[in-house]
Point group: D2
Chain length 305, copies 4
């Protein structure tokens, strides 16, 4: 299987202005290796993030050129596996970052939270923990960052938006398919930022960050544009909206779900609005990034055969 490794200097932003590092055919199964969001620089609970970390975070593997991808297509990324490639994961408190602190984008005059680093080690039972007397976390690995090149912009790898990006949505996992818009020739696919686990919202801003190896294949839906990312699981269809304030992310996610039901599954618009009102699910992927990401879901049993 083709192995694709991150190439230095790592991309810390997604866009068409970078050189592609590989070209892949639709249908070809590949393995993509990913650095952790801190480039492996945090290894001890004594590390001080603001001293250790460089200027940029969240290095990506990419851009990967998808042969045949044209603007207006949808790139479907089938995730066959997400494996972690280390026996420890790291979380931390970074000053002015996270859900329960003022931030650069929502500032205050208060002192920042204390800096802290936690090293979660894989336990014999497979869980991850920095202190098994306290708590242990079941691995549920996924890709925090996945996206394509925006049409015109070059967006930080810390940003989730309508191209995907740093959505931090736990449903970007093995067995699911991620639909991303193709906005430039070749799609320019990026991924990175594997988390061995993460709660909804990613409250402190840093999940269980880890290096990874993901097995994916690409499928192209020709001439089938989408405005925002979508996810299909064996049991659900999902849409992801990323915006601020958070209610706008919710509106985007549910509007996209209504339109998907209308355009693909033959629902009348108002029937679709009723259906998501009475049966939709809506959870917070992240409440910490430059845009918040919300996921709207519907069970497949509501879809026509």
């Amino acid at each position: 299987m083709k192995q694709i490794h991150p190439v230095k200097p790592y991309p810390y932003a997604m866009g068409k202005y970078l050189d592609t590092i590989a070209a892949v055919d639709p249908g070809e199964q590949i393995q993509i290796h990913t650095e952790d969001a801190f480039e492996g620089q945090l290894t001890s609970s004594n590390d001080v993030p603001s001293e250790v970390l460089g200027k940029y975070l969240n290095p990506q593997t990419g851009p990967i050129y998808v042969n045949g991808a044209q603007p207006g297509d949808t790139l479907v990324v089938h995730i066959h596996d997400v494996e972690v490639t280390r026996d420890y994961a790291v979380s931390c408190l970074v000053p002015e970052f996270g859900g329960l602190t003022s931030t650069v984008l929502s500032p205050s005059l208060q002192e920042p939270l204390p800096e802290k680093v936690w090293i979660y080690r894989r336990q014999e039972d497979g869980t991850f923990s920095y202190d098994p007397q306290k708590f242990s976390i079941e691995p549920q690995p996924f890709m925090g960052t996945i996206g394509t090149a925006p049409d015109l912009e070059m967006l930080s790898a810390l940003t989730p938006f309508n191209h995907g990006g740093n959505m931090d949505v736990p449903d970007v996992k093995k067995g699911n398919s991620i639909h991303l818009p193709v906005r430039v020739e070749g799609a320019y696919f990026f991924t990175g930022d594997c988390h061995v686990a993460q709660g909804e919202g990613e409250a402190c801003g840093v999940a269980l960050e880890i290096s990874g190896k993901v097995t994916v294949s690409f499928e192209l839906k020709k001439n089938s544009p989408i405005d925002w990312p979508r996810i299909e699981s064996p049991t659900e269809i999902m849409t992801v909206g990323s915006a601020r304030p958070m209610e706008d992310a919710a509106k985007i996610a549910y509007k996209e779900l209504v339109l998907w039901l209308e355009n693909t599954y033959g629902y009348d618009r108002w029937d679709a609005y009723q259906l998501v009102t009475q049966a939709g699910k809506l959870y917070v992927g992240n409440m910490v990034d430059t845009y918040y990401s919300l996921v709207a879901k519907l069970d497949r049993h509501f879809l026509p055969d």
Copy 2:
């Protein structure tokens, strides 16, 4: 069992300025009957909400005086059952209300959405549907509105806030216990607005509205103040934050969960912040009310025995 019915003129707001309609001892099991949010006035898909509905919505049953309740106590409401008392539920589109429309609080110059009413009838298999060829909804009844009197204010029954109120959170259901702050002598408990089902977010603003009968008993935790509502299920503990913009509701919910872990379960604050970051759940109760309600959750297996 003591039966408590709504008393006219119905309360459309929650506060201490109303006469209590019943007094109940802690531990006593009672049945509270509730009108639907439209007072039963919508009965046909030909109804036009703006013509049929009165000035006020969401009539409550209450206030109920809880004997012995004092400011600073927590009122725990054990929900033994939530039954619906009709074989149909109603949803509708009301002008300038809902998640995918401009509203009175977030206005535009656009034309409102069309008014529509859907009558969902109970099917033979127990599901509810306005057209079984389209879709049917499993009943998962809960109380959309539940709360106590604010200290000083009298808040519309359409508003969720730190006293509970119109949270529209599906976890306010049979088998769960709702913790509400006691801010006035006697607590002044209100409930109403049963939904036979509702999706997360309540996208169009109107769930499957129905009349109901709820069986509850009260427990008082003396001298144990809480700032925001909490929910306990057999498997999870939950906090509810209601605010605008939505990220502030998320912050409230997760901060309350961190403080609960710290104050009741002996977690160090930063351990608690880590725990909810890696293992918390965060879903949207409503994205349509005067404040948005978000629910943060943690599995009980993380709690000490």
Copy 3:
């Protein structure tokens, strides 16, 4: 002239559930005396607000019954004078309150800002200063809080909303007329919270708080309902929107201004939208209260004669 003084126990909320303290005829000129927002309890820079202050803030003078006022009328409050009745004003930092700190409604896990009190004394030149070597502030006195009773609710005197309330808008000053909705018989007028000066936004949450004496007369526009407060100055017309997030306050203010131009001044809606786009002003009254208040303005020279 009729003198109206605040009556203990002071109202800390606005609503129809209180006993009126006076009745006034339209056209009658009256003087209303107001406590400062801290009830005069902060008098020294050594005071610690969290120790000195009681549970409630912002005592109001009212409710004042306006003879003849009926729901659906507009109450026009002509402000003939705003005088301060003390030679010092006070500002302070209160924990978890203000624009550059996390708050109860937008919380964090950070330590609060330090508590501080500043006593601004009237200088010989009429300005106010806590240290003339540092800076002095020109007096521009206005009423921080002014409103009528909501229809159903009883809202904290700290809250601005569609009834007026704690808008903290510097244009509520001598020479201007404030339009407030009448929602209950007698209008139930309240005012308080004089500021001898305040910047736009009231950044730290506490202006130059002072006791005052305001000279006003009431006018009733019969059967002329308004949804949100309006202000007329000799040179401008203004609308005030209070909401969260702040963009919703901006939308309310500009929509109300468009509708005012359309309904009262004969503008076509789209002409009005163009006019406020090219010539409107929009400033922040407060960025600190339970709702933010924004003021949209238009110069009178755009109005037909």
Copy 4:
């Protein structure tokens, strides 16, 4: 004087990935010519924007290389003149864009507002009007878009952020100096989007768009980094925050103003917080762009000599 014209293909985004079109020395006075935001394609009230306009809006003139500029410097842009180069300006309603409509980033299921175009022609008295019987607007020309290249990103010319960009702030005008961060070697300066006038907030999203010629000179403050744009006028100092929700833009603007007073003018932090609380001004530049821009101001008489 050196004349710099926009070069096709026009930049519709700001970043370091473009070829510079000119190099300029600090101190050199230059004239920059700018297209209007619609590239001059709207010329009649019969035009339909969604049919006439291309995929991209807001073409910029740039990037201009500023000789000697290094990351960490501040680029001060002295605006000597802003002249319009046409005798008409254009405004319009574009679907899903503006302050009083749902938008792509805050969507609804409502029908969009009607499309309309207004051609404002220069009148004999110098004002601009599409119908002098209705209203006429005084020219107050300024540059809607002005910025430098972000460090890593390439941001749409429709976006205002910490590099400047599409702030739509009327104080970017003749006689004022704009401070922008230098984040790449040569600064990569862009400008465009002249408005012959605009109200605060730019309510409908489209000001009086016009082609222009601006006379500027650059000054470099070496090793003097700033986080957000600043403006100096003869009478005031100002900071600009661009973010969503709007309260975050307000927080950024006032925090930057406090830090400016602290770091440059020797104010104690808490004195500075008091000063902006009691004497600051805070207006809305735009309530329509991808981020909202708010301007905080302080009168220079508060600054030490």
